[in-house]
């Protein structure tokens, strides 16, 4: 049994492709634009274009497509639930009822909304995964920090904020590894997590989370000590060993993004 197998968020897949070499700032901005686009488009045609675009990025970054999709697997139940809710609970006066059962009825508008929202979440997750798979934690931190640095003027502790965010991302995998150990220790003493009804199953979760939280706090404390003992005092006066600079890949990326954004704006208004 391996719980960490399906986790792709926060994992870095080392490589030397153009996507990997890009300046992290370019990647972060490009991802943000893609996310904004995702929130605006609502036609299947536009999602089709988006799918093609994302597939090209995935293959040019050398990410095995199966691996990129693997991270979606644990989310499937939530996505299905969301889709069902949208399907039955969305109501608009001029919607056509396509299916009805007991007090529930599904409309074509609900179906469309359900599909769009599901696609949206799927793509949002994929875009973020591509970013973390191709950007190491260190360059992700540097990139975000550099992008947020104007906010320092209004007194926002940007370096600290970014550090917190990145640590949180990194802890996803660490906590999953710990969860794996705890679950196994309890299975070894006769807990059958897959048996019983919903309430019985839910009850079995509590003894798992107690040690998980305790260990997480302990880990956080250790991390604080480790950082302080290496003289971390926050963002003030911190310099960089590797300074960021944009190169030809970044210009190419910006051009491609401009073209794609143009196409998307066109599909929104067309």
């Amino acid at each position: 049994m391996e719980l960490t197998k399906n986790i792709t968020l926060g994992v870095y897949l080392p490589g030397n492709t153009a996507v990997h070499r890009m300046d992290p700032r370019t990647k972060i901005i490009a991802s943000t634009i893609l996310i904004v686009i995702l929130l605006l488009i609502n036609s299947y045609q536009a999602y089709g274009y988006f799918l093609i675009f994302i597939s090209v990025i995935i293959s040019s970054a050398g990410i095995p497509p199966g691996y990129a999709l693997r991270g979606l697997k644990p989310m499937l139940p939530v996505l299905v639930l969301m889709w069902v809710f949208q399907l039955f609970l969305h109501s608009s006066p001029d919607a056509e009822i396509i299916f009805s059962w007991w007090i529930f009825s599904a409309t074509d508008a609900g179906l469309h909304l359900g599909n769009i929202i599901t696609l949206r979440v799927l793509f949002l997750f994929t875009v973020t995964t591509i970013l973390t798979l191709t950007t190491s934690i260190v360059s992700l931190t540097d990139g975000l920090e550099s992008l947020l640095s104007p906010l320092k003027r209004i007194g926002l502790p940007t370096q600290e904020l970014v550090m917190t965010m990145v640590i949180a991302l990194r802890f996803v995998l660490i906590l999953a590894e710990e969860l794996d150990k705890i679950v196994k220790a309890q299975m070894a003493r006769g807990v059958a997590f897959d048996r019983g009804n919903f309430i019985q199953k839910t009850r079995k979760i509590f003894p798992v989370f107690l040690p998980l939280f305790i260990n997480a706090f302990r880990r956080a404390e250790d991390l604080i000590v480790a950082m302080e003992s290496r003289s971390y005092t926050g963002g003030r006066g911190r310099t960089k060993m590797k300074t960021l600079h944009m190169g030809r890949v970044d210009i190419v990326c910006i051009l491609i993004m401009l073209l794609f954004t143009g196409l998307m704006i066109f599909t929104i208004f067309a």
Binding site: L13, A185, G190, P211, N215, R218
Partner: protein
């Protein structure tokens, strides 16, 4: 409860870019009443192998049979199997979760669905076996325990399930010498008095030499040796190639033998070696 492993292979994160093979064609057999040491450098695959014994891992290829039950069989009752093959984990912090010692130890028997009276009896017995006084420790807070007491609570929690085989995964890591000796004494007693099959995983040669009769040496996911310990400790060069050292005192005995002292290099127990060295010293003094 014999454990039979044939042609076992296992890869972590199979089917992802991070795939890493950790076990290569492992074959071994563990009989009832055995006391076996599994030793190997860190990352050699010891834990992955051992977690196949109680079906926490299901073989990707090959067969693991526990008491004749194939762990890959969809109809096999793995919960029952895990009660028979107890597993004590490396770090007790992952295993202990209840607020008090007694509550944690009773977790296993409660999962078995035993009536409260039987559960209490089991807890009582398990605590006695590991040398934790019932009245003193039953309601003690887990966080108030020392490292050694935590290990003992963890062992008791597994013993309370009444296993026939006990897998102990590097349970002395991080203990001081005294705590280590106490734990080893508990393990010895479980084997000799309760006739529980012991599978002792460690990267300390000294501990394995002290406890086990048979030793399985694992190197990079493959079984390098699987033999009586006397036959294994006779090949110090090969062990060194893998990155393992002979137990210190044993290395000294072999050294002294080679320099002409009257010491049997095949001695395995610490006391015997010590006595033999003392005898030699004594002889020397008399001669002078």
């Amino acid at each position: 409860m014999p454990i039979e492993v044939t042609g076992l292979n296992y890869s972590y994160k199979k089917g992802t870019p991070f795939e890493k093979k950790v076990l290569y064609d492992v074959n071994l057999q563990i009989e009832d009443g055995d006391i076996v040491g599994i030793i190997g450098p860190t990352q050699s695959g010891k834990t992955t192998l051992a977690q196949h014994f109680n079906a926490l891992f299901i073989p990707q290829s090959g067969v693991v049979k526990v008491d004749g039950i194939n762990t890959a069989d969809k109809n096999a009752d793995l919960v029952k199997l895990r009660h028979k093959v107890g597993y004590v984990f490396q770090n007790p912090d992952y295993q202990l979760f209840a607020s008090s010692v007694g509550e944690d130890i009773s977790f296993g028997p409660r999962n078995q669905g035993l009536p409260p009276g039987d559960v209490t009896a089991r807890v009582n017995e398990a605590m006695a076996q590991v040398g934790l006084d019932y009245d003193t420790f039953y309601s003690r807070d887990i966080f108030a325990l020392s490292g050694g007491q935590k290990r003992r609570t963890a062992i008791a929690g597994v013993l309370a399930c009444k296993p026939k085989t006990l897998v102990l995964d590097d349970i002395t890591a991080g203990l001081d010498p005294r705590g280590r000796d106490e734990i080893l004494a508990v393990v010895k007693k479980l084997h000799s008095e309760k006739n529980i099959t012991i599978i002792y995983i460690s990267n300390s040669m000294d501990e394995v030499a002290e406890l086990a009769e048979r030793v399985i040496v694992i190197d990079q996911g493959r079984i390098a040796f699987n033999d009586l310990k006397i036959n294994i400790f006779n090949k110090p060069e090969k062990l060194r190639d893998i990155g393992l050292e002979l137990p210190e005192l044993m290395a000294l005995a072999i050294d002294l033998h080679q320099q002409g002292f009257n010491i049997d290099p095949a001695l395995l127990k610490f006391d015997e070696i010590l006595l033999s060295i003392l005898d030699n010293l004594h002889d020397g003094q008399v001669r002078e």
